[in-house]
Assembly symmetry: C2
Homo-oligomer: 256 residues x 2
Protein backbone atom coordinates (compact mmCIF):
# COMPACT_ATOMS: atom_id res chain seq x y z
CA UNK A 1 0.00 0.00 0.00
CA UNK A 2 1.43 3.33 -1.06
CA UNK A 3 2.23 6.13 1.36
CA UNK A 4 0.50 9.18 -0.14
CA UNK A 5 2.40 12.42 0.48
CA UNK A 6 1.18 15.94 -0.46
CA UNK A 7 3.93 18.37 -1.38
CA UNK A 8 2.24 21.61 -0.39
CA UNK A 9 2.83 25.26 0.51
CA UNK A 10 0.60 28.11 -0.69
CA UNK A 11 3.63 30.43 -0.91
CA UNK A 12 4.69 30.56 -4.51
CA UNK A 13 8.06 29.44 -5.84
CA UNK A 14 9.35 27.64 -2.71
CA UNK A 15 10.38 24.45 -4.55
CA UNK A 16 7.23 22.26 -4.48
CA UNK A 17 7.67 21.00 -8.04
CA UNK A 18 11.46 20.67 -7.81
CA UNK A 19 11.10 18.67 -4.57
CA UNK A 20 8.31 16.45 -5.97
CA UNK A 21 10.14 15.53 -9.19
CA UNK A 22 13.58 14.99 -7.70
CA UNK A 23 12.57 13.21 -4.49
CA UNK A 24 10.28 10.89 -6.46
CA UNK A 25 13.05 10.14 -8.95
CA UNK A 26 15.66 9.42 -6.26
CA UNK A 27 13.22 7.05 -4.50
CA UNK A 28 12.34 5.30 -7.79
CA UNK A 29 16.10 4.80 -8.32
CA UNK A 30 16.08 2.81 -5.05
CA UNK A 31 13.74 0.24 -6.60
CA UNK A 32 10.52 1.62 -5.14
CA UNK A 33 7.45 2.10 -7.39
CA UNK A 34 6.54 5.80 -7.35
CA UNK A 35 3.61 7.77 -8.79
CA UNK A 36 3.53 11.56 -9.12
CA UNK A 37 0.12 13.29 -9.30
CA UNK A 38 0.36 16.79 -10.79
CA UNK A 39 -2.72 18.65 -9.52
CA UNK A 40 -1.30 22.13 -10.30
CA UNK A 41 -2.89 23.77 -13.39
CA UNK A 42 0.58 25.11 -14.25
CA UNK A 43 1.59 21.48 -14.92
CA UNK A 44 5.26 22.02 -14.00
CA UNK A 45 5.89 18.43 -12.77
CA UNK A 46 4.34 17.21 -16.03
CA UNK A 47 6.62 19.49 -18.06
CA UNK A 48 9.67 18.77 -15.89
CA UNK A 49 9.36 15.04 -16.71
CA UNK A 50 9.17 15.63 -20.45
CA UNK A 51 5.41 15.59 -21.07
CA UNK A 52 3.30 18.07 -23.01
CA UNK A 53 0.46 19.42 -20.87
CA UNK A 54 -1.57 20.54 -23.87
CA UNK A 55 -2.17 17.12 -25.43
CA UNK A 56 -5.64 15.58 -25.65
CA UNK A 57 -4.96 12.49 -23.52
CA UNK A 58 -6.92 12.02 -20.37
CA UNK A 59 -5.32 13.50 -17.28
CA UNK A 60 -5.91 14.55 -13.68
CA UNK A 61 -8.78 16.83 -14.76
CA UNK A 62 -10.76 13.76 -15.99
CA UNK A 63 -9.99 11.92 -12.75
CA UNK A 64 -11.36 14.82 -10.66
CA UNK A 65 -14.30 16.04 -12.74
CA UNK A 66 -15.56 13.03 -14.72
CA UNK A 67 -14.48 10.18 -12.42
CA UNK A 68 -12.26 8.59 -15.07
CA UNK A 69 -10.45 5.64 -13.45
CA UNK A 70 -6.87 6.33 -12.43
CA UNK A 71 -5.48 3.50 -14.60
CA UNK A 72 -6.73 5.39 -17.68
CA UNK A 73 -4.82 8.57 -16.80
CA UNK A 74 -1.53 7.15 -15.48
CA UNK A 75 1.43 7.52 -17.87
CA UNK A 76 4.81 5.82 -17.66
CA UNK A 77 7.72 8.26 -17.64
CA UNK A 78 11.07 7.62 -19.35
CA UNK A 79 12.48 6.82 -15.90
CA UNK A 80 12.25 3.35 -14.37
CA UNK A 81 9.72 2.81 -11.56
CA UNK A 82 8.35 6.36 -12.01
CA UNK A 83 4.80 7.03 -13.33
CA UNK A 84 2.78 10.23 -13.49
CA UNK A 85 -0.84 11.40 -13.62
CA UNK A 86 -0.21 14.52 -15.70
CA UNK A 87 -1.81 17.93 -15.33
CA UNK A 88 -3.56 19.75 -18.14
CA UNK A 89 -4.51 23.31 -19.01
CA UNK A 90 -8.20 22.41 -18.48
CA UNK A 91 -7.41 22.12 -14.77
CA UNK A 92 -7.43 25.94 -14.52
CA UNK A 93 -11.24 25.81 -14.60
CA UNK A 94 -11.52 22.86 -12.21
CA UNK A 95 -11.58 24.89 -9.00
CA UNK A 96 -14.70 26.79 -10.16
CA UNK A 97 -16.29 23.62 -11.55
CA UNK A 98 -15.75 21.69 -8.31
CA UNK A 99 -17.38 24.33 -6.05
CA UNK A 100 -20.95 23.13 -6.70
CA UNK A 101 -20.16 19.44 -7.02
CA UNK A 102 -21.03 16.72 -4.50
CA UNK A 103 -18.14 15.48 -2.34
CA UNK A 104 -15.90 18.06 -3.93
CA UNK A 105 -13.06 17.60 -1.39
CA UNK A 106 -12.77 13.81 -1.67
CA UNK A 107 -12.60 13.32 -5.44
CA UNK A 108 -8.84 12.76 -5.60
CA UNK A 109 -8.91 10.46 -2.55
CA UNK A 110 -11.53 8.22 -4.18
CA UNK A 111 -9.78 8.38 -7.54
CA UNK A 112 -6.46 7.14 -6.12
CA UNK A 113 -7.92 4.36 -3.92
CA UNK A 114 -7.89 1.68 -6.66
CA UNK A 115 -4.18 2.20 -7.52
CA UNK A 116 -2.69 2.57 -4.04
CA UNK A 117 -1.73 -1.10 -4.06
CA UNK A 118 0.34 -0.64 -7.25
CA UNK A 119 2.83 1.83 -5.70
CA UNK A 120 5.10 2.26 -2.68
CA UNK A 121 4.95 6.09 -2.74
CA UNK A 122 2.55 8.60 -4.28
CA UNK A 123 3.63 12.28 -4.31
CA UNK A 124 1.06 15.02 -5.10
CA UNK A 125 2.48 18.31 -6.46
CA UNK A 126 0.09 21.07 -5.33
CA UNK A 127 -0.55 24.58 -6.68
CA UNK A 128 0.46 27.76 -4.77
CA UNK A 129 -2.93 28.24 -3.09
CA UNK A 130 -5.21 26.79 -0.39
CA UNK A 131 -8.16 26.25 -2.72
CA UNK A 132 -10.08 23.11 -3.67
CA UNK A 133 -7.19 21.49 -5.58
CA UNK A 134 -4.83 21.68 -2.58
CA UNK A 135 -7.70 20.58 -0.31
CA UNK A 136 -8.23 17.51 -2.52
CA UNK A 137 -4.53 16.76 -2.21
CA UNK A 138 -4.51 17.05 1.62
CA UNK A 139 -7.68 14.96 1.99
CA UNK A 140 -6.17 12.20 -0.17
CA UNK A 141 -2.86 12.08 1.74
CA UNK A 142 -1.31 10.30 4.72
CA UNK A 143 1.14 13.16 5.26
CA UNK A 144 2.31 16.57 4.04
CA UNK A 145 5.85 17.49 2.95
CA UNK A 146 6.39 21.27 3.21
CA UNK A 147 9.16 22.77 1.04
CA UNK A 148 10.35 26.02 2.64
CA UNK A 149 12.49 28.78 1.16
CA UNK A 150 14.64 30.66 3.68
CA UNK A 151 12.72 33.88 3.18
CA UNK A 152 10.57 36.15 5.37
CA UNK A 153 7.36 35.90 3.30
CA UNK A 154 7.63 32.09 3.18
CA UNK A 155 8.05 31.97 6.98
CA UNK A 156 4.98 34.17 7.44
CA UNK A 157 2.82 31.86 5.32
CA UNK A 158 3.43 28.82 7.53
CA UNK A 159 0.74 29.82 10.03
CA UNK A 160 -1.99 29.77 7.39
CA UNK A 161 -0.75 26.45 6.01
CA UNK A 162 -0.68 24.78 9.45
CA UNK A 163 -4.18 25.98 10.28
CA UNK A 164 -5.47 24.66 6.95
CA UNK A 165 -3.83 21.28 7.65
CA UNK A 166 -5.49 21.05 11.08
CA UNK A 167 -8.89 21.99 9.60
CA UNK A 168 -8.52 19.19 7.01
CA UNK A 169 -7.43 16.81 9.76
CA UNK A 170 -10.52 17.61 11.86
CA UNK A 171 -13.15 17.65 9.09
CA UNK A 172 -11.98 15.26 6.38
CA UNK A 173 -8.83 13.26 7.09
CA UNK A 174 -7.96 12.37 10.71
CA UNK A 175 -4.83 10.43 9.69
CA UNK A 176 -3.12 13.49 8.12
CA UNK A 177 0.26 14.34 9.73
CA UNK A 178 3.22 16.53 8.79
CA UNK A 179 5.81 14.33 7.07
CA UNK A 180 8.43 17.04 7.40
CA UNK A 181 9.72 20.45 6.36
CA UNK A 182 12.34 20.48 3.59
CA UNK A 183 14.55 23.58 3.56
CA UNK A 184 15.15 24.57 -0.07
CA UNK A 185 17.34 27.05 -2.00
CA UNK A 186 19.53 27.47 1.09
CA UNK A 187 22.37 29.98 0.65
CA UNK A 188 24.68 29.86 3.66
CA UNK A 189 26.29 33.18 2.73
CA UNK A 190 23.22 35.22 3.71
CA UNK A 191 22.33 35.86 7.36
CA UNK A 192 18.62 35.83 6.34
CA UNK A 193 18.88 32.15 5.33
CA UNK A 194 20.52 31.25 8.63
CA UNK A 195 17.99 33.21 10.71
CA UNK A 196 15.00 31.66 8.92
CA UNK A 197 16.40 28.13 9.35
CA UNK A 198 16.72 28.75 13.10
CA UNK A 199 13.09 29.94 13.23
CA UNK A 200 11.90 26.83 11.35
CA UNK A 201 13.83 24.46 13.58
CA UNK A 202 12.42 26.19 16.68
CA UNK A 203 8.85 25.82 15.36
CA UNK A 204 9.04 22.28 13.89
CA UNK A 205 11.76 20.68 16.08
CA UNK A 206 12.31 17.09 14.90
CA UNK A 207 9.95 17.41 11.92
CA UNK A 208 12.58 19.25 9.86
CA UNK A 209 14.58 16.98 7.57
CA UNK A 210 18.30 16.87 8.29
CA UNK A 211 18.90 17.22 4.54
CA UNK A 212 19.00 20.87 3.42
CA UNK A 213 18.69 21.55 -0.33
CA UNK A 214 21.24 24.20 -1.42
CA UNK A 215 20.63 26.77 -4.16
CA UNK A 216 22.08 25.05 -7.25
CA UNK A 217 21.51 26.29 -10.81
CA UNK A 218 21.64 22.71 -12.22
CA UNK A 219 18.27 22.11 -10.49
CA UNK A 220 16.67 24.89 -12.51
CA UNK A 221 18.32 23.78 -15.75
CA UNK A 222 17.15 20.14 -15.56
CA UNK A 223 13.42 20.78 -16.29
CA UNK A 224 14.22 22.33 -19.67
CA UNK A 225 15.57 18.89 -20.66
CA UNK A 226 12.54 17.10 -19.17
CA UNK A 227 14.77 15.23 -16.73
CA UNK A 228 15.08 14.87 -12.96
CA UNK A 229 18.41 16.03 -11.52
CA UNK A 230 19.83 12.53 -10.97
CA UNK A 231 19.54 11.94 -14.72
CA UNK A 232 20.49 15.44 -15.90
CA UNK A 233 23.56 15.87 -13.67
CA UNK A 234 24.15 13.11 -11.14
CA UNK A 235 27.33 14.80 -9.84
CA UNK A 236 25.68 18.15 -8.99
CA UNK A 237 25.14 19.46 -5.45
CA UNK A 238 21.39 19.39 -6.17
CA UNK A 239 21.41 15.69 -7.09
CA UNK A 240 23.44 14.81 -3.99
CA UNK A 241 20.99 16.70 -1.74
CA UNK A 242 17.85 15.06 -3.15
CA UNK A 243 19.60 11.69 -2.97
CA UNK A 244 20.25 12.26 0.77
CA UNK A 245 16.61 13.30 1.22
CA UNK A 246 15.42 10.08 -0.47
CA UNK A 247 17.70 8.08 1.84
CA UNK A 248 16.24 9.92 4.85
CA UNK A 249 12.64 9.22 3.76
CA UNK A 250 13.04 5.56 2.75
CA UNK A 251 15.89 4.44 4.99
CA UNK A 252 17.61 3.06 1.84
CA UNK A 253 21.07 4.57 1.70
CA UNK A 254 22.07 4.10 -1.93
CA UNK A 255 20.34 4.14 -5.31
CA UNK A 256 20.60 0.76 -7.05
Amino acid sequence: MARIISVANQKGGVGKTTTTVNTASAIAARGKRVLIVDIDPQGNSTLGLGFDKENDDENVYNLLISDTPAVNVIKKTAFENLDIIPSNIELTGAEVELVNEEERETRLKRGLEPVRKDYDYIFIDSPPSLGLLTLNSLVASDSVMIPMQCEFYALDGLGQLLSTISIVKESFNPRLVIEGVVITMFDGRTSLSIQVVEEIKKKFKDRVYDTVIPRNVRLSEAPSFGQPIDVYDRNSKGAAAYDRLAAEITGIKEAH
Copy 2:
Protein backbone atom coordinates in the same frame (compact mmCIF):
# COMPACT_ATOMS: atom_id res chain seq x y z
CA MET B 1 -7.37 59.93 -12.98
CA ALA B 2 -5.21 57.05 -11.78
CA ARG B 3 -3.58 54.56 -14.12
CA ILE B 4 -4.57 51.15 -12.70
CA ILE B 5 -1.85 48.50 -13.17
CA SER B 6 -2.20 44.79 -12.29
CA VAL B 7 1.02 43.13 -11.19
CA ALA B 8 0.27 39.57 -12.26
CA ASN B 9 1.83 36.21 -13.09
CA GLN B 10 0.34 32.87 -12.01
CA LYS B 11 3.85 31.41 -11.59
CA GLY B 12 4.67 31.51 -7.93
CA GLY B 13 7.56 33.44 -6.40
CA VAL B 14 8.54 35.54 -9.45
CA GLY B 15 8.60 38.87 -7.57
CA LYS B 16 5.01 40.19 -7.86
CA THR B 17 4.89 41.49 -4.29
CA THR B 18 8.47 42.78 -4.29
CA THR B 19 7.83 44.64 -7.56
CA THR B 20 4.48 46.06 -6.35
CA VAL B 21 5.81 47.40 -3.03
CA ASN B 22 9.09 48.82 -4.33
CA THR B 23 7.85 50.30 -7.60
CA ALA B 24 4.93 51.95 -5.78
CA SER B 25 7.24 53.36 -3.14
CA ALA B 26 9.76 54.74 -5.68
CA ILE B 27 6.91 56.42 -7.60
CA ALA B 28 5.40 57.86 -4.38
CA ALA B 29 8.88 59.30 -3.63
CA ARG B 30 8.56 61.27 -6.92
CA GLY B 31 5.56 63.12 -5.52
CA LYS B 32 2.86 60.97 -7.17
CA ARG B 33 -0.09 59.72 -5.11
CA VAL B 34 -0.04 55.91 -5.16
CA LEU B 35 -2.45 53.24 -3.89
CA ILE B 36 -1.58 49.55 -3.53
CA VAL B 37 -4.44 47.01 -3.55
CA ASP B 38 -3.42 43.66 -2.02
CA ILE B 39 -5.82 41.08 -3.46
CA ASP B 40 -3.62 38.09 -2.57
CA PRO B 41 -4.92 36.08 0.43
CA GLN B 42 -1.28 35.65 1.50
CA GLY B 43 -1.26 39.40 2.22
CA ASN B 44 2.47 39.83 1.53
CA SER B 45 2.23 43.47 0.30
CA THR B 46 0.22 44.23 3.45
CA LEU B 47 2.88 42.60 5.63
CA GLY B 48 5.77 44.09 3.66
CA LEU B 49 4.48 47.61 4.44
CA GLY B 50 4.22 46.96 8.15
CA PHE B 51 0.53 46.03 8.53
CA ASP B 52 -0.98 43.07 10.36
CA LYS B 53 -3.26 41.06 8.07
CA GLU B 54 -5.11 39.43 10.93
CA ASN B 55 -6.64 42.58 12.44
CA ASP B 56 -10.40 43.19 12.43
CA ASP B 57 -10.40 46.36 10.33
CA GLU B 58 -12.23 46.35 7.05
CA ASN B 59 -10.11 45.33 4.08
CA VAL B 60 -10.19 44.21 0.46
CA TYR B 61 -12.47 41.27 1.39
CA ASN B 62 -15.23 43.69 2.45
CA LEU B 63 -14.78 45.71 -0.74
CA LEU B 64 -15.22 42.57 -2.88
CA ILE B 65 -17.86 40.64 -0.98
CA SER B 66 -19.97 43.22 0.90
CA ASP B 67 -19.52 46.27 -1.36
CA THR B 68 -17.94 48.34 1.43
CA PRO B 69 -16.86 51.68 -0.12
CA ALA B 70 -13.14 51.92 -0.90
CA VAL B 71 -12.66 54.99 1.32
CA ASN B 72 -13.58 52.81 4.33
CA VAL B 73 -10.87 50.24 3.61
CA ILE B 74 -7.99 52.49 2.48
CA LYS B 75 -5.18 52.84 5.03
CA LYS B 76 -2.33 55.37 5.02
CA THR B 77 1.09 53.74 5.21
CA ALA B 78 4.07 55.20 7.11
CA PHE B 79 5.43 56.35 3.74
CA GLU B 80 4.41 59.67 2.18
CA ASN B 81 2.01 59.56 -0.80
CA LEU B 82 1.56 55.79 -0.40
CA ASP B 83 -1.77 54.23 0.71
CA ILE B 84 -2.93 50.61 0.78
CA ILE B 85 -6.11 48.56 0.70
CA PRO B 86 -4.84 45.68 2.83
CA SER B 87 -5.48 41.97 2.40
CA ASN B 88 -6.88 39.74 5.10
CA ILE B 89 -6.95 36.05 5.94
CA GLU B 90 -10.71 35.98 5.19
CA LEU B 91 -9.79 36.50 1.52
CA THR B 92 -8.81 32.79 1.30
CA GLY B 93 -12.51 31.91 1.15
CA ALA B 94 -13.41 34.74 -1.27
CA GLU B 95 -12.76 32.80 -4.47
CA VAL B 96 -15.34 30.14 -3.49
CA GLU B 97 -17.78 32.77 -2.23
CA LEU B 98 -17.55 34.81 -5.45
CA VAL B 99 -18.30 31.88 -7.77
CA ASN B 100 -22.09 32.11 -7.35
CA GLU B 101 -22.30 35.90 -7.01
CA GLU B 102 -23.67 38.32 -9.61
CA GLU B 103 -21.08 40.29 -11.60
CA ARG B 104 -18.34 38.33 -9.86
CA GLU B 105 -15.57 39.54 -12.21
CA THR B 106 -16.27 43.27 -11.95
CA ARG B 107 -16.48 43.76 -8.18
CA LEU B 108 -13.00 45.26 -7.80
CA LYS B 109 -13.45 47.48 -10.85
CA ARG B 110 -16.67 48.98 -9.42
CA GLY B 111 -15.14 49.23 -5.96
CA LEU B 112 -12.16 51.30 -7.17
CA GLU B 113 -14.14 53.62 -9.48
CA PRO B 114 -14.95 56.22 -6.76
CA VAL B 115 -11.30 56.65 -5.67
CA ARG B 116 -9.57 56.69 -9.05
CA LYS B 117 -9.58 60.52 -9.00
CA ASP B 118 -7.64 60.55 -5.69
CA TYR B 119 -4.53 58.80 -7.07
CA ASP B 120 -2.05 58.99 -9.94
CA TYR B 121 -1.22 55.24 -9.86
CA ILE B 122 -2.99 52.20 -8.45
CA PHE B 123 -1.01 48.91 -8.33
CA ILE B 124 -2.83 45.61 -7.67
CA ASP B 125 -0.71 42.78 -6.20
CA SER B 126 -2.24 39.51 -7.46
CA PRO B 127 -2.06 35.93 -6.12
CA PRO B 128 -0.15 33.13 -7.95
CA SER B 129 -3.19 31.80 -9.83
CA LEU B 130 -5.58 32.65 -12.67
CA GLY B 131 -8.71 32.40 -10.52
CA LEU B 132 -11.44 34.94 -9.71
CA LEU B 133 -9.18 37.23 -7.65
CA THR B 134 -6.67 37.67 -10.49
CA LEU B 135 -9.58 38.03 -12.93
CA ASN B 136 -10.99 40.85 -10.80
CA SER B 137 -7.60 42.52 -10.88
CA LEU B 138 -7.28 42.26 -14.71
CA VAL B 139 -10.84 43.48 -15.28
CA ALA B 140 -10.23 46.52 -13.06
CA SER B 141 -6.94 47.50 -14.76
CA ASP B 142 -5.72 49.64 -17.65
CA SER B 143 -2.61 47.51 -18.03
CA VAL B 144 -0.66 44.51 -16.72
CA MET B 145 2.91 44.49 -15.43
CA ILE B 146 4.42 40.98 -15.62
CA PRO B 147 7.34 40.22 -13.26
CA MET B 148 9.41 37.38 -14.77
CA GLN B 149 12.07 35.26 -13.12
CA CYS B 150 14.79 34.01 -15.48
CA GLU B 151 13.72 30.41 -15.09
CA PHE B 152 12.38 27.67 -17.38
CA TYR B 153 9.08 27.08 -15.53
CA ALA B 154 8.38 30.82 -15.42
CA LEU B 155 8.98 31.08 -19.17
CA ASP B 156 6.60 28.18 -19.82
CA GLY B 157 3.81 29.83 -17.83
CA LEU B 158 3.75 32.94 -20.04
CA GLY B 159 1.56 31.30 -22.68
CA GLN B 160 -1.25 30.64 -20.21
CA LEU B 161 -0.98 34.16 -18.80
CA LEU B 162 -1.13 35.82 -22.23
CA SER B 163 -4.15 33.78 -23.28
CA THR B 164 -5.95 34.70 -20.03
CA ILE B 165 -5.16 38.39 -20.65
CA SER B 166 -6.62 38.21 -24.17
CA ILE B 167 -9.76 36.43 -22.90
CA VAL B 168 -10.27 39.20 -20.32
CA LYS B 169 -9.66 41.82 -23.02
CA GLU B 170 -12.31 40.26 -25.29
CA SER B 171 -14.99 39.54 -22.69
CA PHE B 172 -14.65 42.13 -19.94
CA ASN B 173 -12.07 44.88 -20.46
CA PRO B 174 -11.24 45.97 -24.03
CA ARG B 175 -8.78 48.66 -22.85
CA LEU B 176 -6.45 46.13 -21.13
CA VAL B 177 -2.88 46.18 -22.54
CA ILE B 178 0.50 44.81 -21.41
CA GLU B 179 2.32 47.57 -19.55
CA GLY B 180 5.55 45.61 -19.69
CA VAL B 181 7.61 42.65 -18.56
CA VAL B 182 9.98 43.26 -15.62
CA ILE B 183 12.90 40.84 -15.44
CA THR B 184 13.51 39.99 -11.77
CA MET B 185 16.14 38.13 -9.70
CA PHE B 186 18.55 38.32 -12.63
CA ASP B 187 21.90 36.61 -12.02
CA GLY B 188 24.28 37.36 -14.88
CA ARG B 189 26.63 34.55 -13.83
CA THR B 190 24.25 31.78 -14.99
CA SER B 191 23.77 30.96 -18.67
CA LEU B 192 20.12 30.03 -17.88
CA SER B 193 19.37 33.65 -16.88
CA ILE B 194 20.93 34.98 -20.08
CA GLN B 195 19.10 32.43 -22.30
CA VAL B 196 15.72 33.17 -20.71
CA VAL B 197 16.19 36.94 -21.08
CA GLU B 198 16.88 36.45 -24.79
CA GLU B 199 13.70 34.38 -25.14
CA ILE B 200 11.65 37.06 -23.35
CA LYS B 201 13.04 39.88 -25.50
CA LYS B 202 12.29 37.85 -28.65
CA LYS B 203 8.69 37.30 -27.56
CA PHE B 204 7.88 40.75 -26.10
CA LYS B 205 10.25 43.03 -28.11
CA ASP B 206 9.77 46.63 -26.94
CA ARG B 207 7.39 45.68 -24.12
CA VAL B 208 10.27 44.56 -21.87
CA TYR B 209 11.47 47.26 -19.49
CA ASP B 210 15.09 48.31 -19.98
CA THR B 211 15.52 48.09 -16.20
CA VAL B 212 16.49 44.58 -15.06
CA ILE B 213 16.13 43.83 -11.32
CA PRO B 214 19.20 41.91 -10.06
CA ARG B 215 19.11 39.25 -7.34
CA ASN B 216 19.89 41.25 -4.17
CA VAL B 217 19.44 39.88 -0.65
CA ARG B 218 18.56 43.35 0.73
CA LEU B 219 15.26 43.09 -1.20
CA SER B 220 14.31 39.98 0.74
CA GLU B 221 15.42 41.44 4.08
CA ALA B 222 13.37 44.68 3.78
CA PRO B 223 9.88 43.09 4.28
CA SER B 224 10.83 41.77 7.72
CA PHE B 225 11.21 45.44 8.76
CA GLY B 226 7.92 46.40 7.08
CA GLN B 227 9.75 48.81 4.77
CA PRO B 228 10.18 49.26 1.00
CA ILE B 229 13.77 49.00 -0.21
CA ASP B 230 14.29 52.76 -0.70
CA VAL B 231 13.62 53.23 3.02
CA TYR B 232 15.37 50.07 4.29
CA ASP B 233 18.57 50.47 2.26
CA ARG B 234 18.59 53.29 -0.24
CA ASN B 235 22.17 52.47 -1.35
CA SER B 236 21.49 48.85 -2.27
CA LYS B 237 21.52 47.46 -5.82
CA GLY B 238 17.84 46.56 -5.34
CA ALA B 239 16.86 50.14 -4.44
CA ALA B 240 18.77 51.53 -7.43
CA ALA B 241 17.04 49.09 -9.79
CA TYR B 242 13.50 49.87 -8.60
CA ASP B 243 14.35 53.58 -8.71
CA ARG B 244 15.33 53.22 -12.38
CA LEU B 245 12.13 51.27 -13.04
CA ALA B 246 10.04 54.06 -11.46
CA ALA B 247 11.87 56.60 -13.65
CA GLU B 248 11.13 54.48 -16.72
CA ILE B 249 7.39 54.23 -15.88
CA THR B 250 6.79 57.87 -14.87
CA GLY B 251 9.39 59.70 -16.94
CA ILE B 252 10.50 61.47 -13.70
CA LYS B 253 14.21 60.88 -13.35
CA GLU B 254 14.83 61.57 -9.67
CA ALA B 255 12.97 61.06 -6.39
CA HIS B 256 12.27 64.37 -4.64
